[in-house]
């Protein structure tokens, strides 16, 4: 309860920082609207040009694409600060103040920035899901919707776990941004049905960097009933808990190596 209150206070602070610069706020809201409209437009444009992708209709590919944006957007909302940790903050010795406060450093990272850009991605994603979903020729079961919701929420936790684990390597190497970037880019592959990929990449996307696990498999479940939705949900939740626990452990171990900078 204390942390909920503290989180809200910090988020309020983060939003105030953003609004402190008036013109900057207006520009960022405008650019946010424009970029989201553009991305939505370009996706539909591309989809109209593709007749089909390994048996998937354009509407189905669009559904994949739209759904994949949800876990990514949720992660974007809450954990943007870890990019800065990976790229800059450890290297500049800018983490000192967080180590001085009686609150877990990892919590402070979540509370440091709230990234409303994520809302835009959610809107774009939901719009695509709705439009493409109406064009699907399948009957939608409750289980399939359930596994999609689980996939979006716990998928976000898995993405965040990767961000935590990889950004904490910066405590040892001073900078881990490029590595984080490479791993994060794998989410791009997960925007399409994994059936289109060769066996090796499929294996990676399910067992190692499990972005396919919570994006492709739930959507396949919805479209073709490929998997048992409840079992799949259980696996996704289990994976999310395991990855998050591992990530926080790695963070804790690495944070002890923080060296600060001379002053």
């Amino acid at each position: 309860m204390r942390y909920v209150k503290l989180y809200l206070t910090c988020i309020k602070r983060s939003m105030m920082s953003r609004l402190e610069y008036k013109k900057d706020s207006i520009i960022s809201i405008l650019s946010f609207l424009i970029s989201n409209a553009c991305s939505l437009g370009s996706i539909f444009f591309i989809l109209q040009a593709i007749p089909s992708l390994k048996g998937y209709t354009p509407a189905e590919v669009g559904f994949f694409y739209g759904f994949s944006m949800l876990p990514i957007a949720l992660d974007h909302l809450f954990s943007d600060e870890f990019w800065l940790v990976a790229y800059r903050r450890v290297q500049l010795g800018d983490m000192d103040r967080h180590f001085l406060r009686p609150v877990p450093v990892i919590f402070q990272m979540f509370a440091e920035t709230f990234q409303p850009d994520g809302f835009g991605e959610i809107i774009v994603g939901v719009t695509m899901i709705t439009i493409c979903g109406l064009n699907l020729q399948t009957s939608v079961s409750f289980g399939a919707i359930f596994v999609l919701i689980i996939g979006a929420i716990f998928g976000a936790i898995i993405i965040t776990s990767f961000k935590i684990a990889l950004s904490s390597l910066a405590f040892i190497f001073k900078k881990s941004g490029p590595l984080l970037q490479i791993v994060y880019n794998f989410t791009i592959y997960a925007k399409y049905p994994i059936a289109i990929y060769p066996q090796a990449i499929r294996f990676i996307l399910i067992f190692i960097l499990p972005f396919g696990l919570f994006i492709s498999l739930p959507v396949d479940t919805l479209l073709y009933g490929s998997y048992n939705p409840y079992l799949l949900s259980l696996i996704i939740v289990g994976a999310a808990i395991a990855f998050f626990a591992l990530a926080t452990l790695i963070w804790t171990l690495c944070a002890r190596r923080y060296e600060s900078t001379g002053s």
């Binding site: 000192d96 103040r97 009686p102």
Partner: protein
């Protein structure tokens, strides 16, 4: 309660005296602390608390040996050679509750590294630190409630929101109650004047204002120990004075233990009852300031600018107590070093005008670097 007031009165007395007469802080501070100690009535029989214990503390940084230039840097990627830098080398000391200790040394002596280990940012390579019987790097969150930290070079406040909003966040972070918060803000406004710029974003504050704000922020949760790393760096005289007064007031009111690093001799004379001096990671002196002064006297340097017509070597020395030094690069400068307790300032200034025909002059106190040099030289002599 009456004891408490007495402490404050006595402290005031000490401070007023300090400005007007020649100082002998060691004895006066001792009496002050004696009183301060009486002020804390404790249930335990141990009496005064050992607030900070540092035992055989070392920090070694391993750095790869780098080659020169781009080729050398590339070669470094494949080499396994490391140099070990002993930033802090087997350091031990205890600090009592309510003490104000100056932790001093030249640049790169290991001060900040020690402070960072004491507040839990860095983990020691060996040895340990106990803050109120807890190791800060192991029980970081618990210790964090008991300490306040100001790094002169790094602000802890949020850059682009008004100061008061930063304070509100910190209030939540440290779980300060509403009544405590109100009381603390009032106190900090009166001693540091933070209310003047409470509604300004931190980025618009001047350096002096920002330091006052940072200091106030570190005191909001009423820490038992305050670590101040260069709190007066780059400040003008008025701000320095305000900061010193605030530290004194805080120490008197809440009985806060203060550890500060500084390069300013005046800070040390004004604030510290005890100094710990570190050089190349090792402690070279730990004791009252008075002892240092007794050992090295109240040494001042009078720097004169003389006209080219005067040859300083031909001028008869003022007395045996005055050392003359010449600067090879600046032929027009003469430096006279003397013990201000033995030489009357007025006389030597008159002498400078009449004999050296000085055009300009500047008086400086002995610098920390000079004291360090002198202590090291003396220790070498003792070894031989």
């Amino acid at each position: 309660m009456s004891v408490c007031c007495f402490v404050v009165d006595d402290f005031q007395y000490f401070q007023d005296e300090g400005h007007t007469t020649t100082k002998e802080p060691s004895t006066r501070d001792a009496s002050f602390f004696c009183l301060a100690r009486c002020g804390t009535i404790r249930n335990d029989t141990k009496g005064i608390l050992n607030m900070i214990q540092v035992q055989n503390l070392s920090k070694i940084f391993r750095k790869p040996i780098r080659g020169k230039g781009l080729v050398g840097m590339l070669a470094t990627l494949f080499s396994r050679k490391y140099t070990e830098i002993r930033a802090v080398d087997d350091v031990s000391f205890d600090i009592m509750e309510g003490e104000i200790v100056g932790y001093i040394g030249s640049n790169g002596a290991g001060k900040s590294t020690t402070i960072k280990m004491m507040c839990g940012i860095l983990t020691p390579t060996s040895g340990k630190v106990l803050i109120d019987d807890k190791e800060p790097y192991l029980k970081r969150r618990i210790v964090a409630k008991d300490i306040g930290v100001v790094f002169g070079q790094k602000s802890q406040l949020w850059w682009d929101i008004p100061l008061i909003e930063s304070f509100k966040v910190l209030k939540e972070v440290y779980q300060v109650s509403d009544s405590d918060y109100e009381e603390r803000i009032q106190f900090l406004s009166s001693v540091l004047g933070v209310d003047e710029f409470m509604n300004q974003p931190v980025r618009t504050l001047s350096l002096g204002q920002r330091m006052r704000a940072d200091l106030a922020a570190s005191m909001l949760h009423n820490p038992k120990i305050l670590f101040l790393d260069e709190p007066t760096i780059g400040m003008d005289v008025l701000v320095k004075d305000k900061i010193r007064t605030a530290i004194h007031a805080l120490n008197a009111k809440y009985h806060t233990t203060v550890v500060l690093t500084t390069h300013d001799m005046a800070d040390i004379e004004n604030l510290c009852s005890r100094i710990i001096m570190i050089e190349k990671g090792k402690i070279i002196y730990d004791g009252p300031l008075g002892n240092i002064k007794r050992r090295f006297g109240n040494i001042k340097t009078l720097t004169l600018t003389i006209p080219p017509s005067v040859d300083p070597n031909e001028v008869k020395p003022f007395s045996e107590d005055v050392m003359m030094e010449l600067d090879e690069d600046h032929k027009d400068k003469v430096m006279l070093k003397f013990d201000a307790d033995k030489v009357v300032l007025e006389h030597i200034i008159q002498y400078s005008f009449s004999q050296y025909h000085a055009i300009d002059m500047k008086i400086t106190d002995i610098s920390i670097e000079d004291v360090v040099k002198k202590i090291l030289a003396q220790q070498e002599e003792e070894h031989e």
